[in-house]
Structure formats: C-alpha cells, structure tokens
Symmetry: C2
DNA sequence: TCTCCGTCATGACATTTGTCACAAAAAATA
DNA sequence: TATTTTTTGTGACAAATGTCATGACGGAGA
C-alpha cells in the first residue's frame, strides 16, 4: 500500500520512513514537511493512506486534512500527535480522519496502517481513554443507590430540559403543587438543594 | 497471539475461527457461546485478546466485559457487532474496550487484532462515523454570536456548578444584587428564562 | 382485612429568583 | 480634560421555588 508521510520535523519523517520501509507491504511514496506540501503530494502521488502530524506551522494537519477530504472524500488520513490534545481529537473525529496515533510507539504504526487499509479506524489508547469524557449524550441516568420512582424520573428529565413547574405539570397532566412536592422529595433523596443543582446532577451523571 | 472467540451463533464462531487460523500469527485458544463462558474461558486460557459478540442472551457482551475488566484491568476486549447500536458504542467506550468492529468484513479482523496487540484501539468506520454526533463542542463554552464578557462567563460557570446567587457573590466578591443583575443580563442575551435553563444550555453546548 | 406505599392534590409560608429603575466609582477612550 | 463604557451596587417588586402539614385514592402485600 502507498503511504505519504508528513511531519514538520524531518528527523521524524526519516525515522518513520525507515521503520515503515522495513515492512514489505508498505511503500512510502512521498515525504513532506508541511500541510501545504501534503495537499500537493496527495494530488500527485494518490496514496492509499496519508500519515500526517497534526501539529505543524502554517496550515497544520487539520487544515490540510480538511482540504484534502473536500476534494477526495474517501481519502484515508491518519493523524500523528505528540500529546493527546483534546481539541484536536474532537476536530479530527468531526473531520472524518481514519485515526489518531501517538508518535511514541513507532512499532505500532505499521499494524495501524494495515487495519486502516482493511477499512477500520485506529486510535491510540491515550486518545480513546479521553473519549468517554467527551460523550455526554444518550444513555439513561445512573440512579443506582437512590430510590427514585418512574414518576420522579420523569420529573427529573423535565427539569433537565429547563422546564418550570407549571410546564412540567402541563406536560405530565399534574397540578403544579404536585410537581413541587415531587421535586421537593427528589431533592431530598438526591441531597440537592434546588432544581438547578438537579439539572447539573443530571448532566454530570449521564453516561 | 492468543485469542478467545465468543459468539452465541456457533456458525459465526466457526467462521471466525477458520479465518483467524489462516493467519500464522494468531492462535485461537478457546471458543465460547455466552458471556458466562467468556468469563470462565478468560480465566483459564488467559488470552491476549478477547473477541466477543456484544449482543448475546443472558449476561451479554457488555456485562461479561465489565466483569472481566474488573478482575483484569489490562484485558484487551474487542467487541463484534452486527449493527452499530448507539447505546452499545457509548457503553463499550466507557468500559474501556479496545475496539468495536462490524462483523461483516471478516477479512478486517486479523489486521485489527494486530493493531490492538500493538497497543491501539480499532473501530469500524460505521462506528467512528457515529461518534461525532455524540460529542458536542469544544472545551469551552460556545458563545459565538452572543456578546458575553469575562465576568458574565464566570457567573455562568458558577451557575453551572449549581451555586445560588449568594454563593456566587461570595465566591466572586460581589454583592448578591450584582450577581442577580448579571444573571438577568445573561439570560436576556442568551434568550433563556432562568438559571436552570442556563445550566442546561451550558451542559448542552460544551463538551 | 388492614397496612403500607405510590400517586395526586391543596393551602400556607418563607425564601429565592428575576426584573427594573437608578446611580456611584473605576476604567477606557476621545 | 471630558466623555463614554464597564463594573459594581441598592431598593423595591412580582413571580417562582421549595418546604411543610395534611389528606384522598388505589393497589400490592402481609
């Protein structure tokens, strides 16, 4: 498979090239040191995978990746990084990158390339470990340990949408006073003070 | 590397075994058809990687994975799935699985196993494509379009912790009245009604 | 059957919250 | 210097919120 390597540190480029050339299945067809170069080289060499540092001067890995993907939506781009920077991870995921690897363990790059070649995406473990903290949507509330009824759960979910007592009452066909009573009970059970703390609790305990 | 295969469909087990045995680097040391069996086999065979269907009767792949990871935090578990179910993806990520593959492309499993063995995590492209929708925005609050000052941002962050006006005032060395005025202004700018809606906004617009 | 529990409700009350008008002090700007 | 703007503050007010006492109703279980 044909690979292009992009890294603004030419020493890293050389190291990667040497390591990858040791694998007969991998052919390094071009090496570059900037995002701009990555775009040109991608056009001319048409590689199977583009292996690119994410932190570079000028356009940077993300910018170059975006432009390449705009022209070639099926491009396989694998980002390399020294540190696992939260912001980059999220942007790379949004962009449609095929992976995000830590430079350190160089011997892991060849297997990663093969996995990408076979249609998967590969992420360094440090990267994956950060993902759960980014996810907050979906999933039910974790109310184990507390004794919360269905009705009460419904109230909690409405509070977490930002509804006031009147709106919750209308929505659930209850009187406003009943909603207030439920809420008072919920707050006591969860050891919270007010509806805002309940909303905070909700969003911090979703999985 | 030593692999255990778990799938409640014994035909799939057989197919996977055949495919993986074709690779000399892979040794299938055990095969099972339930989550309970996975736990026993993991203990007895001590594999490098556990390849397991996520949808099974009884304990299920997630339950078995949780129990195994509790005993062996360094266990490498790779989930297989027929469909990419959102809830499973999120739970698998939280659990600390090393990957999540679609069963369909069977030839991709061996490369994935090698990437996992070398310390990466591997996800099918259909899975990765769903991730961005689970993440919201960047680290800080996305206040573009609104004109929110530093002071106001500080108030917002305190509200999002569940503090009341008095507590915010004490924390920022302001009078309670001032905090109320700021909050009133913030709510107007963000077109929200009360502090609970502000907290909800905060948690839905950050990552 | 009786009791307990969850659901639903009302009224009263104190507190918190959000809004508004107004203004002093400090900082930035002309 | 004169002027705006920003930051901070007060007091008053209505509405929303949270708590409490109290009770009705129905179902599940002892």
């Amino acid at each position: 498979m044909k690979i292009i390597i992009i890294d603004d540190d030419s020493f890293i480029c050389a190291s990667l090239t040497t390591i990858l050339r040791a694998d007969p299945a991998i052919e390094v067809v071009a090496v570059g040191t900037s995002g701009e170069e990555a775009i040109d080289l991608y056009e001319s060499a048409q590689p199977d995978i583009l292996l690119m540092d994410i932190q570079m001067d000028g356009l940077g890995g993300l910018g170059a990746g975006e432009q390449i993907l705009r022209r070639h939506p099926k491009a396989r781009i694998l980002f390399l990084t020294t540190f696992s920077d939260n912001e980059y991870i999220v942007k790379a995921l949004h962009m449609g990158a095929k992976g995000y690897l830590i430079k350190q363990n160089a011997e892991a790059i060849a297997p990663a390339l093969k996995a990408v070649m076979s249609g998967q995406s590969v992420f360094g473990d440090e990267i994956v470990a950060k993902l759960p903290s980014f996810l907050s949507r979906q999933g039910k509330l974790n109310l184990s340990g507390y004794n919360i009824s269905d009705r009460e759960t419904a109230i909690i979910e409405h509070v977490a949408k930002g509804l006031n007592n009147k709106e919750i009452a209308d929505s659930l066909y209850l009187s406003e006073g009943t909603v207030r009573n439920y809420l008072s009970l919920i707050l006591e059970k969860l050891e919270l003070r007010d509806r805002t703390q309940l909303a905070v609790f909700y969003y911090q305990n979703r999985l």
